[in-house]
């Protein structure tokens, strides 16, 4: 490995937390929340690839690929939902959608 696994993991951790912060800060805006989720998933992929590199096996990379496939599926569905919601209330502010209250 070119760098200790620890450093890779630290980088992955920082990216993950940045994604988490994005979700938490922009929790009123659906689009920005989805972007935060993308960042978090990326960080997970980085951790997997680092592990694959450490032990010299391809399994980690395979799983990174799986994550990527899952992300694409998820994004498409999520954005379809956003379009649908926008058609209902003409806004992407999550606070408007509180019919599940109580």
């Amino acid at each position: 490995m070119i760098v200790p696994l620890l450093h890779v993991l630290i980088l992955a951790g920082i990216l993950f937390v940045l994604g988490l912060v994005c979700v938490l800060v922009w929790r009123s805006n659906i689009i920005m929340m989805l972007i935060g989720i993308e960042v978090m998933l990326n960080a997970a992929m980085l951790a997997f690839v680092g592990g694959a590199n450490r032990w010299g096996m391809a399994d980690g990379q395979v799983f990174a690929l799986m994550i990527m496939a899952m992300t694409s599926a998820e994004v498409s569905l999520a954005l379809a939902l956003v379009v649908y919601l926008h058609r209902r209330k003409r806004t992407v502010n999550t606070d408007e959608f509180s019919e599940m209250k109580g």
Partner: protein, 638 residues
């Protein structure tokens, strides 16, 4: 013997319970007959027990309280003291039952009345015959309760209920002292049997015995209305007159004296305790005599007179003369019951007018009441050769013989009180019965005035009951004649009981003391005659119209003891109760609960606002939970 004693207790109890439970459904005559019959039966059994009596006997009926060392079976003790008390109680109570048949003839609550009277007799007999202190306490409390219920018999008027409550609460103070004494005695001697306790007096130091003696004195003060717990007895006259005669003249108020006489072998070892007892008795006698001088209500005069005479009995006990005290107790029972029943006749005749300044001329109107009443008054004043004379003189002689500065002072006080007694007694007689001559104007607003001077009616039964009591009072002196007339039977009889010593004295000294007492009594009658007899009576009546002032007012209101107690105890107690109620109970306890409930409600509301239905709140909560778990994990691992 066992049968007689058991029947003596069970018969009144049976009468009381039957009357209490189904008395209202029985016909009136049957209920009354039952009530009088059981007491008569008890008297017969008492006579049979007297005839079969040979030596002190202890009869155990059954077991009652038994736990570890503490044993209090229902066992009765018959010795001369309890025998004479038993005879007196059953006899006087029987007469009073017959009397109250006529007195309460118009009252619809007869079942309750007779039930309570019977229960009272049962409790009093239990008290007298008890062999151990818890059983005596049972009787003590029983008579206290019956007294409360009977004083407040006409409870629909608030004044009567208040009087009953006052009696109960004041005697409660004494009862508490008695309870403490019983427990202390058990802790010291490991027994509560009277016969055993009386033999153990020498075991403890004098200080302990004095303490026990003082506690018993306090309990006697409550029950027998001595200072400072005497405030209930004048107010207790709110009850029916037979009740006053029974409870507050003859039996219940003597229970305190009986207790002290019973426990004298134990507490007599302490000179200090005896001195305090004597002092209490002497001072109370003086206090009550001064108050009786100023009273207007007929029954209140007799109530204060009772307090005074019981003071004499206490004085006798304090001088160690049980014979004299018991003798005076018996004679007092007879003549005081006579006076109260006579007062009942007078009150009935006057249609429930009780103010003596509104009475007059009854000597001509109801002669059959007058002569026994006069006999009773002679006994009370202690005129020579009446029963009251011998008994009161025996006490004074015992006090004189005791010697020492305290007892000599008490002798003087007792003599002065005898003078006052004679004065107020004949004041009462002159005001109630005197006058009535055709030349004299009648007092305004009396039934005499309304009826135009016709004769007043008193039920025959009530008047006939007075006769036996008058005879016993007048000639009861034969029970214990002084030495120069013959040996005292009562003294000899009581001496057979352990612990009672006969006080012998020189014949000459006895004669001298009796002469002094006789002179005092006659002097008192003369003073009363000068002030209230004949023509001066009219002046007194006129003077009585103005409100009392100064010394008269002081004595009329019982030296303002009621006001003093109200100031010292009742007002702070009421203030404390109000504070505890308003500030603590409502302010702190209720309020804190209310506030607590309010806080809980708000907390619930606050927590409920978490469910906003908005994703943003939920995401934040999710992240916070995750951070918490990860932080905890890191904490644990490192």
């Amino acid at each position: 013997m066992k049968l007689y004693l058991a029947l003596i207790l069970l018969l009144p109890l049976l009468g009381g319970v039957v009357n209490a439970v189904i008395g209202r459904k029985l016909p009136r005559r049957l209920s009354e007959t039952l009530a009088c019959g059981v007491v008569g039966g008890a008297f017969v059994c008492a006579l049979l027990a007297f005839s079969a009596y040979r030596a002190p006997v202890k009869v155990e009926l059954c077991s009652w309280l038994a736990a570890f060392d503490f044993k209090a079976p229902i066992s009765l003790y018959l010795d001369p003291l309890s025998l004479v008390m038993m005879l007196m109680i059953t006899f006087v109570c029987g007469l009073i039952h017959l009397y109250s048949v006529a007195y309460m003839a118009d009252d619809p609550d007869y079942a309750r009345f007779f039930a309570l009277l019977n229960l009272f007799v049962f409790a009093m007999l239990t008290l007298v015959l008890a062999e151990n202190l818890p059983l005596l306490y049972l009787g003590w409390e029983g008579v206290g309760f019956c007294s409360y219920a009977l004083i407040g018999f006409w409870y629909r008027e608030e004044k009567n209920a208040t009087a009953g409550r006052k009696a109960f609460i004041v005697t409660r103070v004494g009862d508490t002292a008695f309870g403490i004494a019983i427990v202390w005695m058990f802790q010291l001697f490991n027994t509560v049997s009277i016969t055993e306790l009386n033999g153990m007096g020498f075991l403890m130091p004098a200080g302990v015995i004095t303490g026990l003696g003082l506690l018993l004195l306090v309990s006697a003060m409550g029950k027998s209305a001595q200072m400072p717990l005497m405030v209930w007895l004048p107010d207790a006259m709110a009850g029916p007159t037979p009740v006053s005669a029974l409870i507050h003249a003859a039996t219940m108020v003597t229970a305190g004296v009986y207790l002290l006489a019973r426990m004298l072998p134990l507490v007599g070892g302490s000179v200090a305790a005896l001195a305090v007892i004597a002092l209490t008795g002497g001072v109370t006698a003086f206090y009550a005599a001064t108050c009786a001088l100023a009273q207007r209500d007929l029954k209140r005069i007799l109530a204060y007179s009772t307090i005074s005479q019981i003071g004499y009995m206490m004085l006798g006990v304090g001088a160690g003369a049980i014979t004299a005290a018991t003798f005076h107790l018996l004679i007092h029972a007879f003549f005081k019951a006579l006076l109260f029943l006579g007062a009942g006749c007078i009150i009935t005749a006057m249609h429930h007018e009780q103010d003596i300044f509104r009475m007059g001329g009854l000597r001509k109107s109801i002669p059959l009441t007058f002569w026994p009443f006069l006999a009773g008054a002679l006994c009370l004043a202690g005129l020579p050769l009446t029963g009251g004379f011998f008994s009161k003189d025996a006490i004074l002689m015992a006090v004189w013989l005791k010697g020492g500065p305290l007892y000599s002072g008490l002798y003087g006080l007792g003599l002065f009180t005898a003078l006052l007694t004679a004065i107020y007694t004949f004041r009462m007689v002159y005001l109630v019965f005197g006058g009535g001559h055709s030349s004299e104007p009648l007092p305004t607003e009396t039934p005499l005035h309304h009826q135009g001077g016709g004769s007043l009616r008193v039920p025959r039964l009530m008047e006939w009951i007075l006769l036996p009591l008058a005879l016993l009072g007048l000639f009861g002196g034969v029970l214990n004649l002084p030495a120069w007339l013959g040996e005292g039977w009562l003294g000899r009889f009581l001496v057979t009981q352990a612990g009672i010593k006969e006080t012998g004295a020189l014949h000459a000294l006895e004669l001298a003391l009796q002469g002094v007492a006789a002179v005092i009594a006659l002097l008192g009658v003369a003073i009363a005659h000068l002030r209230y007899g004949g023509a001066r009576r009219r002046e007194r009546l006129a003077a009585a119209e103005t409100p009392p002032t100064g010394l008269t007012a002081f004595c009329l209101h019982g030296w303002y003891f009621d006001a003093l107690y109200r100031f010292l105890f009742i007002r702070p107690f009421e203030a404390l109760a109000r504070i505890l109620w308003e500030r603590f109970d409502e302010g702190v306890i209720d309020d804190s609960l209310d506030r607590f409930a309010f806080v809980l409600g708000r907390t619930g509301q606050g927590l409920g606002s978490w469910t906003t239905g908005r994703v943003s709140a939920y995401i934040l909560s999710f992240a916070a939970g995750a951070a918490l778990i990860l932080g905890y994990l890191a904490w644990v691992v490192l």
